[in-house]
Symmetry: C2
Subunit: 112 residues, 2 copies
């Protein structure tokens, strides 16, 4: 029994905005993109994303707090993985929208 579309409360808007804000950083998007290939440790992620270990750890914490990635500790290492499958569709949707806008813009400036 999914709720029908109704105006969101101010509190709900804040939550949604927060979700978008988490995705509004290139470094976090890059980490998610690396994680698309599967679970990885913090060190591996830092190297793959070309970031400092401290900074990557912080971004991973942000992603985990938002419920987008999961955290699994194994000995000295901590492994992160995609926890919210909607991320795939979300990125696909946004990329598709941007592609469409670019194509529309290209059409305007196309030679006659």
């Amino acid at each position: 029994m999914a709720k029908k579309k109704s105006p969101l409360s101010d509190e709900a808007l804040v939550v949604v905005a927060r979700r978008f804000a988490v995705l509004a950083e290139p470094m976090r998007l890059r980490l998610l993109q690396v994680l698309f290939a599967g679970e990885k440790s913090v060190g591996a992620l830092a190297e793959a994303a070309a970031g400092t270990q401290a900074n990557v750890s912080r971004h991973l914490q942000t992603l985990a707090e938002a419920g987008l990635v999961s955290r699994r500790k194994e000995g000295l290492q901590v492994f992160y993985a995609i926890a919210d499958p909607s991320i795939f569709q979300l990125c696909e949707l946004v990329c598709g929208s941007i592609d469409q806008q670019n194509q529309a813009r290209a059409k305007v400036f196309a030679k006659p």
Copy 2:
């Protein structure tokens, strides 16, 4: 001929992040939600969203630059409208994901 899924370049990630950042403000989300009902003037939007005229005008400019809303001038008034239909699916997707997380959390604390 849609491109297959391949790692996005750093520049592309910046563009995608920017798109998310535009959606990462409660006031802008509220404006979009009001616009879901149809085209409206700046003044009408300011009243419906309970914001100052200056601030709403600024947010609308941000949304327009991102290609999310369209601008139509008619006499003294300027009318804005949803320009990117993917916004509907995007909000639906995010809200659904948040709902799912909330239900999962509720389940954890459910009485036995």
